[in-house]
Each structure stands twice: as C-alpha cells, then as structure tokens.
C-alpha cells in the first residue's frame, strides 16, 4: 500500500541513484514518511533486549541525564565507562528486597580502642592536682617537635595517641621514669616501645616461677636415680659431654636489665612487659638476623637456635640498640661522687650516673663539628652478654674444698682461665666509636643550614640505622625507628653447624693395623721361644738360690 517513494537517507538504497536519474524523481517525498521513519526508529530503540530486559532508548536517556547532571570534562572519551556505570546502577536497585547488612569493618573496632584513650579515667577533680605535679610521663610532643626538625618521626596524631597510651601506662604501673624508646617495624604488626624504671622496691618478683620449676625438676631427678640403680648392668655408655656453664643474667635494675620495657602493637592496645634478657640470648641475637613478625609469642626459627621466642629476641635487640646508640651531650650526666672511691677497684667500671646540675650546653655548631661532644650513657655489652663481667668458674670457698677430690676427673678443657672482658667505661665520647670499613659510626648534621640560630644538632647512627639523637640547648633525646637490625656491609653469613663430634678417642687399641706377614710371625715365634728358654734358666737359678738360703736358715 504505501508507496516506497524516494529513499530516505536512513534506508538502504539511498544514494544509489544520482539526483535527477532516480526512477522516483518526479514524485514529491511524502512528509508523512519522515515521521514514519522516526516512528520506526523509535520503535526499534524501544525494543527490549532479550538478555537483559533493558531497552536502548531508556538507557540512552539515562546516560544523557547523567552526563548533563554531572557534566564531566571530555565526556566523549569516557562515554563507555559512563554507559557501564549506568547499567551497573540499574542492577543495584533491583536488590531492594534484601536488607542492607552494614559491614562491620575492623577499622571501627580500632577507632573504638583509640577513643578509649581519650576518655578521662574516673576520679574527677581530685586527680587534677596530682597530675599537674611531677609526673614520670615524658613530654612526647616536645621531643617529637625536635626530631621533626630533622625530618625524623611519626605523624603528629600518631604521636598523640602514643602520648595518651603512655599516660595510661604510667597510671597503671608504679613507674618512676618513663621514656618513649621508639618504634620497631614488623611483618604483620609493629611495636611501640616504652622504656621504664620502676620505683625502688616496687618491682614484682618473678623468681617464684623459677623456684617452682626447680623443685619439680629435683623431684624428677630423684625418681630417675632409683631407676638407674636397678638397671646399672644394662646401661648404655653415658656421654661425657659437659655443656659450658650457663652465665647467669644480670639482676633487674643493673647492667643490661637496668630498664624495663613495655611494648604494644598500636596505641590503645594493652601494654605488655618484656621479660629481662639473659646473656645467652644476647650472644645468640648477635649471630642471627630475623624480621619481627609483630606477635610476641611467635617462635624464632634460626641457627644457632635462639633460646626464647620473639619477646626475648625483641628484648635482646632493644638491649643491644640501647647499649650502642643511647648518647647524650658531654657534661649532662656526671658520675656520682663516692667516698673512698680511689682505693676500691670497682669491677666493671662505674654504672651509676646522675644529672649534672651545672651543665653548660655547647652550641649547636660545636655539637655537630666533633663527635667528642657526645657520650654514651648506657653501658656497653661485653662479648659475654653482660655489662659486668662474671667468671662462671669462680666458686665459693666451700665448693672448692669439696671439689679438690674431684679435680682430677675434670678434663683439662674446662679449666682454661677465661680472660676478664673489659668494655669501654661509661660516659666515653663517641669519637672512640669504631666505624665500619671507611664509614664513621655516626653522622652529625644540623637540622637546617638556612637558620643556624635555631638549628638542632642531629646525630644519625650508621651502625644501627634508625637510631637518632638530637641536642638543642639543655634538651636532648634519643629515639629509634627502624627494623631492629645492625648494619653490616657484608652479607649475613649464618653460623655453620659445629663439626661432628669424634665418637671415640683413637689410639693404638682402636686403630686397625695390618695383619702380620709370615716372616714376622716366624720371627715372633722364635723370639718367644728364646724368651721362654731364658726365663727357665733364671727360674732354675732362683730356685737354687732359694734352696741355698733355706739350707742356711735351717
């Protein structure tokens, strides 16, 4: 019915005929056909898709609405993404029948914990007076400011959280001095470390646990002895290996264990006290290099096997870092004057110091120029693992008397005299520190070259990368941010296992000799017969001699 008419531009066939030569040129294009074409096009656009149920018309309308609403720049470049987003948004609405389950993110729990830091403890106004007085809480924000001048440190809000966490620690534990020691990074979590000294006499005694275990062991030992007596005949040979004597750890409050350390993974989490460190742990920690995982009870798998878990390894590294890098300007600390000092030989050097009330600070330029203006104020650790050398073979007089009898049995190896180890005395200047190869042990810089009047002197350790110290006027501070390892230009070479022990001493009895040859056997036989003959002659002579004597007696 409807004439096909001249082809419209959208129909196939358009343009096939040159104007003036088309068979329909004499006909006028039907104005209705244009609207018809439009209707056809719209009907096509409104057709719903068989797979998704959408139709192109609505989709294009949504897209254009979105573009006109948001007006992105260069919309034509991202048109495909916009189309994808519109389609995606379509599907979201259809899930209205399901209730929204709000995801409880772990971030909310962490925020709760940190909010708890900000709440004031119950007590009200009475406590305000106490707090304003002398408090062991250090001014963390002040040290943060000085270190920030050198570009070292955490962000301000993290510092503030640490500040509040330290405040909580100080109120809970009976603490005399407290300091923010630093942050050690780990694989899963990090450690924030506080260095603390208890009031005298307030420290909890942990020896109870050790006594209990010793008693238990004694009981077991008695039972074992009884069993052994029964089986004496069938005993396998006992090993004569005597392990080297265990060097006892230093008392709490002296030497390596002078300070007590508390750690937490994040401010807001409870503080955990680290156990005191033993010399064996320090000696082993010097030989291994392991990352911290962030969990204090994680085992430390290494060779030589570390005697303890991650808490002990962390404590050992903290002890080594403190001994190597805690420094102060010269003159800040001085030795306390003691009477009769010159006569007594103080073993191991002095280990106490006090603040010098007459301290005159040096200028920043002087502090930076020479390293002799800084001194260590923590005792260095000897090879033995202690700060004060202890001879493990020294026995009391009673024991010596008992052991005089047994001395002969002890093999000679154990009785080698150990050389007394002497470390550098306390308050030695840093210029005495050895460098590594051709790098000095410390790098000193002022915090700024542009404004020298207000610069701060900054020290960076090259032996323990991450240890920093600052000094400005009468104030100074130390801090550590790092992974907790010493710097070594050489690659870490783990200790080799010890050589296999000899099973038995080799001597002529146990060495295999060749079988004697025929000539040797014959010669041996001949020699034996001669010896027999000679012995018989001697016997006869003896008998004659004896008979003579008997005859004489009678």
């Amino acid at each position: 019915e409807r004439g096909h008419g001249p082809y419209q531009p959208h129909e196939p066939g358009y343009g096939l005929y040159q104007p003036g030569y088309s068979p329909y040129d004499d006909q006028i294009p039907d104005p209705q056909s244009r609207t018809l074409a439009i209707q056809n096009a719209k009907a096509y656009l409104l057709k719903s898709s068989t797979t998704s149920g959408l139709n192109l018309y609505a989709h294009l309308a949504n897209m254009l609405t979105k573009i006109l609403d948001e007006q992105p720049t260069n919309a034509v470049d991202i048109i495909e993404n916009i189309s994808k987003d519109v389609k995606w948004a379509q599907f979201q609405k259809k899930m209205d029948t399901l209730r929204d389950e709000y995801e409880i993110l772990p971030t909310y729990e962490a925020a709760e914990k940190r909010k708890a830091l900000f709440l004031k403890a119950n007590g009200g106004d009475e406590e305000l007076e106490e707090e304003i007085g002398e408090t062991p809480l250090p001014n963390v924000m002040e040290t943060a400011f000085y270190f920030e001048q050198a570009g070292i440190g955490l962000s301000k809000d993290e510092y503030y959280h640490i500040f509040l966490a330290l405040k909580k620690l100080v109120t809970v534990q009976p603490i005399q001095t407290c300091r923010f020691w630093g942050k050690i990074l780990g694989l899963e979590m990090n450690y924030i470390i506080a260095e603390v000294q208890y009031h005298e006499g307030e420290e909890e005694e942990e020896t109870e646990e050790e006594e209990v275990t010793e008693e238990g062991r004694k009981g077991v030992g008695e039972v074992e002895d009884e069993e052994e007596e029964k089986e004496k005949e069938d005993e396998p040979p006992k090993s004569i290996y005597k392990p080297p004597p265990v060097i006892p750890k230093e008392e709490n409050g002296t030497g390596v264990n002078k300070y007590v350390y508390f750690v937490c993974n994040e401010p807001g989490k409870p503080w955990v006290k680290l156990p005191p460190v033993t010399p064996a742990q320090i000696v082993c920690a010097r030989k291994i290099k392991k990352f911290f995982t962030g969990r204090l009870d994680a085992p430390v798998v290494s060779f030589p096997p570390f005697p303890g878990n991650e808490a002990n390894y962390l404590r050992a590294q903290i002890a080594r870092i403190s001994a190597g890098t805690q420094v102060s300007p010269i003159g800040f600390y001085q030795f306390a004057e003691e009477e009769g000092d010159e006569e007594e030989e103080v073993e191991g050097g002095r280990d106490t110091y006090e603040e010098n009330p007459d301290f005159q600070p040096l200028s920043v330029a002087e502090m930076v120029d020479s390293l002799s203006t800084w001194v260590h104020h923590v005792q260095s650790i000897l090879k033995q693992g202690r700060c004060v050398w202890l001879n493990p073979f020294q026995k009391s007089e009673e024991e010596e008397e008992n052991e005089e009898e047994e001395k002969a049995e002890e093999p000679d190896e154990l009785q080698q005299e150990l050389q007394q180890e002497i470390g550098p005395p306390l308050l030695t200047p840093l210029s005495e520190d050895e460098g590594i190869q051709n790098i000095p042990a410390w790098t000193a810089q002022p915090s700024t070259n542009l404004i020298p009047q207000y610069a701060v002197a900054i020290l960076q350790s090259n032996r323990w990368p991450g240890a920093y110290a600052f000094a400005s006027g009468k104030k100074f501070g130390n801090i550590y941010f790092g992974w907790g390892h010493k710097y070594s230009p050489e690659n870490h070479a783990p200790a080799l296992p010890p050589p296999a022990q000899a099973e038995y001493p080799s001597g002529p009895e146990t060495t295999e000799t060749g079988d004697p040859t025929l000539e040797e056997e014959l010669a041996f036989k001949a020699a034996r017969e001669e010896a027999l003959a000679a012995a018989e002659e001697e016997e006869e002579e003896d008998e004659e001699g004896a008979e003579d004597e008997e005859e004489e007696d009678d």
């Binding site: 993110l105 971030t107 925020a111 440190g153 993290e158």
Partner: protein
C-alpha cells in the same frame, strides 16, 4: 607520590619514622612546581630520599603524556636546586650492582672499580678510560633498580589506551578494604615480565585496559612485601623488604595512593635469611 598532594601524602607515609622536615617540605612545595614549569612535565612525582654518609639526595621524577614512558629523573642536595640525571643504561646498572656499602653523599665521588671486577677493568683500560664509577651513575642505576623492582601502583589506577599509551584512569575510585589487603591488587609500574607466561585461562580473565602489568603475587621471594593497616585501619601500607625503605600507602575507597623511598639505597640481600 604526587607533588601536588605532597603535604597530605607525607602525613600518611611517615609510619616508618623517616620523613621530611618542615623546611624541606616547604622547599619542595615550590621547587617541584618550578620543575614542572621548566621541564614541561605533565606530572611531577617526589620519589624520595637516599641517605648518604655525609649528605642526602632528594629525587624527583617527571612524567610526560605517556605515563609508562621512561621517566626523567632529577636529584637535589637541598630540595631547591635540581640537576637532571642521565638516563639509566643496562651497563650502568650492571656495574652499580657490584658496588657495596653506603652512598657517600657527594655526587662526584668516585668508587674504585678495579677491586671489583678485574676483567671489566682491563677492558676499560684498553678503551683508555679509568676504572672508576661516579656516585652519580650509581645513583641513577639504584633509582632505576628500585623503580623496576618495587615501584607499585594499585590495580585500575592506570589504563592503557588502544594506541599503547598509558593514562591515569579517571574512573578509579580506590580499592576496597578487602581488595587492598591482597597483593594481587597491586602492580609493578614497569615493563611486565611475567604477563606472557600466564596460562590462556588466566589471560582470558584479564582486562587488557587495566591488567597490562605484573602483579605482586608472584614476587620472589614470597613474603617480600608486608601489608599493614596503619592509623587504626584507615591507611593500607605496603613496605618492601627487598629494598628497605620503600613504602607504598593507599587510603581505601579514595584516590589517594603513592610510593616513596626513604633509605640508604642498598638492596637487602639477606632477605631469605631474615624471613
């Protein structure tokens, strides 16, 4: 990290204790802008700081219209005056790999090369050159190594156009928290090495516009990246254990991300013993 968001980014990136002093931050704010003007970079990234024994190098990178093209690198000793570094060559990287020890802090310092490799030294003698390596060359090689080994971006942050050039993805809204904790959501921003070794099945799932780089999942040794949530879980921080000091931060569900290096510029070859 982007120079334009330097201040905010530094707040997020200082979890490891190393950062910039207020003086340096202020200096960088203006000097990086001037760099962009002088060299006509489209983007300027503050790459980080390498600590030498006597001084520190501050490094910036400039990017052109194709973000994956080789970047221009500049260094400065005081964050104000910048010098362009020569592009890194394979030979430079090879020579610098043999050097050990800290950087000295002086760009004209020369390392004695004769001790290290006798054969190469002999070859150089024949050429008539001295067997030394300048610290500048070592610096270039180290930056190139670090970028190649541990320079990372989140998945979807960059798109590859059909013509081959790489742009930022304007539709990138950030990774979600669960995605951000997985190593497979991060890519090395360098020429991919492992991509063609994937099986056909894996390749079928890849989207060629966003998945055109290697992900971190198959890095050797396994465990050479630590993923942590800092600041109460609001920032995801990745730290490399192979190059200690490289850290990457990202705030989930936002467009903030970047990586920066604060360290001594030495590779951690003890990594297998330490894990």
């Amino acid at each position: 990290m982007e120079a334009s968001s330097l201040l905010a980014a530094l707040e997020l990136a200082v979890g490891g204790g190393a950062g910039l002093s207020p003086e340096k931050r202020a200096a960088l704010g203006s000097s990086l802008l001037l760099l962009q003007r002088d060299y006509r970079f489209e983007r300027v990234w503050f790459w980080g700081c390498i600590q030498g024994v006597r001084g520190a190098y501050y490094i910036a990178e400039g990017l052109g219209p194709d973000r994956a093209a080789p970047r221009s690198r500049l260094y400065s000793l005081n964050c104000m005056e910048w010098s362009l570094l020569p592009p890194a060559t394979e030979e430079m990287v090879r020579q610098a790999e043999q050097l050990k020890g800290r950087f000295q802090g002086d760009p004209s310092f020369e390392y004695e090369y004769a001790e290290i490799n006798a054969e190469d030294a002999e070859r150089l003698f024949e050429d008539g050159k001295e067997p030394v390596i300048k610290e500048e060359a070592r610096l270039v090689a180290t930056i190139e190594q670090i970028d190649r080994a541990v320079g990372i971006i989140p998945r979807g942050a960059f798109v590859k156009t059909p013509l081959g050039s790489v742009h930022e993805n304007r539709n990138f809204e950030g990774l979600s928290l669960t995605e951000a904790k997985k190593l497979s959501s991060y890519f090395h921003f360098t020429e991919p090495v492992n991509l063609k070794n994937k099986t056909l099945l894996e390749k079928a799932d890849l989207d060629p516009s966003t998945d055109f780089l290697d992900s971190l999942e198959h890095d050797i040794p396994q465990g050479s990246w630590t993923v942590q949530l800092e600041k109460g879980g609001t920032v995801v921080v990745l730290r490399s254990l192979l190059w200690l000091g490289l850290m990457f931060y990202h705030v989930p569900m936002t467009k903030q991300y970047g990586y920066v290096y604060f360290g001594t510029g030495e590779k951690n070859l003890d990594l297998p013993f330490m894990l």
